[in-house]
């Protein structure tokens, strides 16, 4: 077996953010473990934000986050890139800049050539370098299947922090990356995607949310998140609840990767999409015009997905234009309204 041909996907049944624990079970279990409060903690787990934030002084707040998962693709270097981009994304979603990073690695040294581990870490390092952060070390456990990700510390000016709780009624919602990577990854495992389409999904997952974060600061965005394992609706729900608003999403206007809608029609719906759909069900109203495919797209677990941000109406067009330079499919997908009986309305 040569290193370059080792198929990381052969090591696990489900990959990426769809390997997350059931969100409902996790919420329930965490509620029984109280946390100590501190006045300098600006964001803790309560608003289900992307990362924790601690105010060091009047000029700097620290953002801390971690994320790791089993392989999402066959190639080790690509997997490293995607896992790192995904972990760094939480810092960007809070409007911050990555500063320090640690590698979190699990690797079965007896089953897979060590060169594969080198490639995973090299892929990760490439993205860490692109982010401008410094790798300070890491921790590696001998374990199967392999898992990789980062713990990241970032910084942000306390007044420029962007959170789930920052949405205001009347704002418009923008999504930067098209949806459907979960569906495409499931389809790839079954040999149902074209190579071109699958490569598009990989390219998108590798892409940092760095430019998106810069745009958010430029246009004064206060409320945003990155769309990952809980799907668009799961993350939108967390924002709606944290901000005490309702969100209205036009499912027909969602940006989507090629081939995804056809796959959905054929029944290619990953288990994680059903799990997410169950999780949001009580809080979402679907207009009868929403098709099952549209609903499932909105619940598809994303790995290293795009930023979902709320912006004042008068700045939306300029923000979209700025985002489009890096994210050509960035578009308005809905709006924020005052709190209504449901957290999310899908049209």
């Amino acid at each position: 077996m040569t290193t370059s041909s080792f198929d990381l996907l052969s090591t696990c049944a489900s990959g990426g953010c769809s390997a997350k624990l059931n969100p409902a079970a996790l919420t329930d279990l965490l509620s029984s473990i109280p946390l100590i409060k501190d006045a300098r903690i600006m964001v803790d787990i309560e608003t289900h934000d992307d990362a924790g934030v601690y105010r060091l002084n009047d000029d700097i707040a620290l953002i801390v986050t971690t994320d790791f998962f089993p392989p999402v693709c066959s190639d080790a270097f690509t997997f490293g890139q995607i896992a790192a981009a995904n972990a760094l994304s939480d810092i960007y979603a809070m409007g911050g800049t990555p500063l320090l990073s640690l590698n979190l690695t699990m690797f079965p040294s007896k089953d897979i050539p060590l060169e594969v581990l080198r490639n995973i870490l090299a892929g990760g390092q490439e993205k860490i370098n692109e982010s401008g952060a410094f790798t300070m070390g890491g921790h590696t456990i001998d374990d199967n299947p392999p898992k990789y990700g980062l713990a990241v510390v970032g910084t942000v000016h306390p007044d420029k922090l962007i959170t789930n709780a920052g949405l205001k009624a009347g704002q418009l919602l923008i999504l930067t990356k098209p949806l459907g990577v979960g569906i495409l990854m499931a389809a790839q495992r079954m040999g149902l995607t074209s190579e071109d389409t699958y490569n598009l999904a990989l390219e998108q997952m590798k892409m940092l949310n760095k430019a998106g974060a810069v745009c958010m600061q430029q246009f004064g965005v206060k409320g945003a998140t990155d769309v990952t394992g809980f799907g668009l609706l799961g993350h939108a729900l967390k924002m709606a609840e944290a901000s005490d608003v309702s969100i209205q999403i036009s499912l027909g206007s969602l940006p989507v990767l090629p081939q995804v809608m056809t796959l959905l029609v054929s029944g290619c719906i990953p288990g994680a999409a059903f799990r997410n759909a169950d999780f949001v069900k009580k809080h979402v109203f679907y207009a009868p015009s929403c098709s099952v495919e549209q609903k499932m797209l909105a619940c598809d677990a994303q790995t290293s997905g795009g930023l979902l941000m709320a912006v004042d109406t008068n700045k939306a067009n300029d923000l979209i234009a700025a985002l489009k330079i890096v994210h050509p499919q960035a578009c308005i997908i809905g709006e924020v309204t005052s709190r209504r009986s449901k957290s999310i309305y899908c049209l």
């Binding site: 049944a13 009624a169 009347g170 499931a186 389809a187 079954m190 209205q248 029609v265 054929s266 029944g267 290619c268 719906i269 990953p270 288990g271 059903f274 759909a277 169950d278 109203f285 207009a287 009868p288 098709s291 099952v292 609903k295 709006e335 309204t337 005052s338 709190r339 209504r340 009986s341 449901k342 309305y345 049209l347």
Partner: protein
Amino acid sequence: MKTIDTKGQLCPAPLILAKKGIQEAAAGEEIEILTDNETSFHNLKNYLKELKLTPTIRTEGNVHMLTINKTEVLSDYPSPESFCAAPTSSNFVVAIKSEFMGTGDDEIGHFLMEAFLDSLNESDKLPSAILLYNSGVKIALKETVTARSLQTLENIGIPIYACGKCLEYYNIKDLIAVGMVSNMFTITKHLTEAGHIIYP
């Protein structure tokens, strides 16, 4: 009877096989889908429900059997027959063009609107949509009795479309408590496609 055996397979494979089998089956044919995985079973049930197919379920040992009858064409588009059929009970919309029911004194008009929505909630014939425009949008505002009734209707799945322009005109967009903020395109679509329209 057509059997789709998905035993030993994990999602999304059972869903793909099920969808393909349903599409290939003749109209009226009975289809049986087999699975031995609990997650796939749960997902198949939800998927069939979304496709508006209600399965009969049997379980023997660790094998679940979902039986469906392919009575209707598998698509979100109504069948040709349903276009020709006379308006049925669910094929009506309620268009509320004012916050008051009827013409006359506003106080009684307001009271009547509350009573109308209460009665609608108790009716066995429910509308396919409720449209709110002009001052009609005001019945969806926070802390109104009417909004509470609308909420009950929304909870059972009836879509409520409030005219966004109207909310802006009356400067009450921040006060809406129920329903979707909509536009004239959607409202017109519902008015033109309705079997009949009720203007309370």
